[in-house]
């Protein structure tokens, strides 16, 4: 499939994620959107990895071009997992204090 389709899909997912982070008030939804952004990037990385491999394999069967991108996907997944666990822990602690997951409530940086 032409790479453009993957790019469009990834961009769309990323934008949805960005807008979700900016506009949604529920902290858990915001986390989901962050996950969405990360996964959009994963998708794009894998797509490009496949594209580079496909372009290179005709000249040199046995090449390993594009493996780095797939490796990087694993990095992103690990980071995402770590971040989600820490973030959700923070949200649970906050909920215990203020009984709400509304991010507009969480402007304590100002004070």
């Amino acid at each position: 499939m032409p790479i453009n389709y993957y790019i469009f899909l990834a961009v769309a997912l990323f934008s949805i994620g960005v807008i979700g982070v900016l506009t949604r008030r529920n902290a858990i939804i915001v986390f989901m959107c962050i996950e969405l952004m990360l996964n959009a990037v994963n998708l794009l990385l894998v797509a490009f990895s496949k594209m580079h491999y496909a372009n290179a394999v005709t000249f040199n069967p046995g090449t390993t071009t594009g493996a780095e991108a797939q490796l990087f996907v694993f990095f992103i997944m690990v980071v995402a997992a770590a971040e989600v666990s820490v973030g959700l822990a923070i949200i649970v602690m906050m909920y215990r204090n203020i009984h709400s997951v509304d991010i507009n409530f969480l402007n304590r940086l100002k004070h």
């Binding site: 960005v18 982070v21 900016l22 991010i103 507009n104 402007n107 304590r108 100002k110």
Partner: protein, 632 residues
């Protein structure tokens, strides 16, 4: 002898320092002695200088003391110039000054010792400044003396400084003088630019080659200075107010010497005035206008000193008329005779005031003839002299000026003669109301009125003698050929001008006719005034109509106040309240306030809302991308 000229101003300066610094330690008699002695010493030296100068063929000598201002292109030495004109003025200043010092010693005897000494210190300082003025060999030294006499005038008018009105009068004198001084200074700067120097010896030879427009400008500016110092229109209003000072001060400064500084200056610069096209006319017209104007005011004044003050202004106007028509010798002659009889009149007035215990309103005087015989007699002589009745001095000097005016234009002559008639009228009105008729003062005053002590009457007698005989130094051609000694004496000073002026000849018969007619008219006016005011009785009705305008000095002071003083003050208040506070400070403080305001606005960026932070990050990233992709 001329080498020792510097001693002449030095003696009064020493007198000033001794009396001024030691005023608490010097007893009254010593203070008066020091003050008078220093001027006497200067007088003796002036006589010696005069003896040297009057030798035929004496050329002007310059005595340089030290270098005052010396920079590239401009050398102003502290130098004195001895010639006929300055030596004549030296005699007048020191001679009349000495008499007035002696007079003051008695007149001011009521003052406390330290104030008495202060008075003599100021008087000596004045003589010093005036001597600097006439001795200066360049315009800057003249200006030093010029402002110096203005300063002393301020100090002496405001001598009784507890009185607010007197201080106002002193202030007015100084400020009006300063306005004139600005004109003088601008003329000096112009001369520096034009001639590269301020020394008489350098400037006067170059005048021939100078453009007439430049000469007109310089002479007009100098004349502005003269109007301030010599109380001509429009800067004359300080002189009548200056009568607030002690009477001897009025005699010395405002009659005999300071106010004649303007005439000295123009006489000194005569070559410039002769060659400038428009200025002589301006000088003559303003002088004549002032003479007439002041005379009209004097006829309605009731304060003895104010009448004399306006009379001074009027006589000064006459002198300027003389200068304007080119009769330089006549003007200087009149300065000399005026010094004598005006000082005499003022000192006589002082004697009257002293006798009447500080009464100055002539409506409350009268019949003093028998109480103050010497004062009365000398005062009468003064009145006859000022009226211009022969053979007293005033006749000769006034006549010379008027003949010069006639040679220029008969109109000038007739207006001048009219003001002379007015002079006769108000002077004899003054004389009659003061000395003739019934005594109109209080009982108190009548008991105490007595003739003044010798220290006061002797100067009066001396001045009266001078007022009688001084005229004979200037007997005109019509009477005796070649008898005009003064003209011959001053000829070297005015030589260049006389050469340039045409010969204005008035035929002898015309001159006799005019002279005779004028004298007759004056005698008629005199008799009329004596008759009208000889038996004056106080009338309670105030003056009406035109007489009231005259009595209120044509409301000139009020006009000046409304047109100049008040708007200036209002403008300054506006500047202070509006411009200073709101506009300029507004901008400055506004800058500060603006910065505080924008800081407050910027603070909103730091809202603490993480969401807005992320939004801004995203927007910024997008913008960067756009710039990168589309910017190339």
């Amino acid at each position: 002898m001329t080498k020792l000229t510097y001693l002449i101003p030095l003696f009064p300066l020493i007198g000033f320092l001794v009396n001024g610094l030691g005023r608490r330690m010097v007893p009254k008699s010593v203070a008066g002695l020091i003050g008078s002695a220093s001027v006497l010493a200067s007088f003796i030296l002036s006589v010696l200088v005069f003896m040297e100068v009057r030798v035929d063929g004496f050329t002007a000598q310059e005595v340089k003391l030290f270098s005052f201002i010396k920079t590239a292109g401009l050398d102003i030495p502290f130098a004195f110039q001895i010639d006929q004109l300055s030596s004549l003025f030296l005699l007048i200043i020191t001679g009349v000054g000495f008499l007035i010092h002696v007079y003051s010693a008695a007149y001011m005897h009521e003052e406390e010792p330290q104030h008495y000494a202060r008075y003599f210190a100021y008087l000596n300082l004045f003589v010093f400044s005036m001597l600097l003025l006439v001795l200066g060999a360049n315009y800057v030294i003249m200006f030093i003396g010029w402002e110096g006499v203005g300063l002393c005038s301020y100090l002496l008018i405001g001598y009784w400084f507890k009185n607010g009105d007197y201080n106002d009068a002193a202030k007015k004198a100084f400020v009006m003088n300063r306005i004139g001084d600005l004109g003088f200074l601008l003329a000096v700067f112009w001369m520096i630019g034009q001639f590269g120097s301020t020394s008489f010896g350098v400037i006067f030879p170059k005048v021939d080659a100078t453009a007439p427009a430049v000469l007109t400008g310089i002479t007009l500016l100098l004349f502005v200075g003269a109007t301030g110092k010599s109380a001509q229109i429009p800067l004359y209003t300080w002189l009548p107010d200056a009568m607030a000072g002690p009477t001897p001060v009025s005699a010395l400064i405002h009659a005999a010497t300071m106010v004649t500084a303007g005439i000295y200056m123009i006489a000194r610069s005569n070559i410039m005035y002769t060659l400038a096209p428009i200025t002589p006319t301006v000088v003559a017209v303003i002088g004549l206008a002032t003479a007439l104007f002041a005379a009209t005011i004097a006829i309605q004044q009731n304060d003895i000193k104010k009448v004399l003050a306006y009379s001074t202004v009027s006589q000064l106007g006459l002198m300027f008329l003389g200068l304007g028509v080119g009769a330089y010798t006549g003007a200087v002659f009149h300065v000399m005779t005026h010094a004598f009889f005006k000082a005499l009149l003022f000192l006589g007035a002082g004697s009257v005031i002293h006798a009447m215990h500080h009464e100055q309103d002539i409506r409350n005087m009268g019949g003093l003839k028998k109480h103050l015989p010497i004062t009365h007699f000398t005062f009468l002589i003064g009145c006859i002299a000022i009226a211009g009745i022969p053979p007293f001095s005033g006749f000769f000097s006034k006549d010379e000026i008027l003949m010069g005016a006639f040679a220029h234009s008969p109109v000038l002559y007739f207006i001048g003669t009219f003001s002379a008639l007015l002079t006769a009228f108000y002077m004899f009105r003054l004389y009659a109301m003061t000395f003739l008729g019934q005594f109109r003062g209080t009982q108190e005053q009548q008991l105490h009125v007595h003739e003044s002590p010798a220290a006061m009457t002797v100067p009066l007698i001396v001045l009266a003698l001078l007022a009688i005989v001084a005229g004979f130094v200037g007997v005109p051609e019509v009477f005796i050929k070649d008898a005009h000694w003064l003209e011959k004496f001053l000829a070297p000073v005015f030589a260049a001008s006389t050469a340039k002026q045409g010969e204005h000849v008035v035929s002898h018969s015309t001159e006799y006719a005019l002279m005779g007619g004028t004298v007759l008219a004056i005698l008629v006016v005199m008799v009329y005034a004596l008759k009208k005011f000889g038996n004056y009785s106080k009338t309670a009705e105030p003056a009406t109509g035109f007489a009231r305008v005259l009595e209120n000095k044509w409301y000139v002071d009020e006009i000046y106040d409304a047109v100049i003083s008040r708007p200036l003050r209002g403008f300054s208040v506006f500047l202070n309240n509006v411009m200073e506070r709101s506009v300029i400070d507004g901008v400055v403080n506004g800058t500060g306030k603006f910065i505080q305001y924008s800081s407050r606005q910027f603070r909103w960026l730091q809202s603490g809302q993480v969401g807005s932070y992320i939004l801004i990050m995203v927007v910024a990233t997008v913008v960067f991308f756009i710039i990168q992709i589309f910017g190339k």
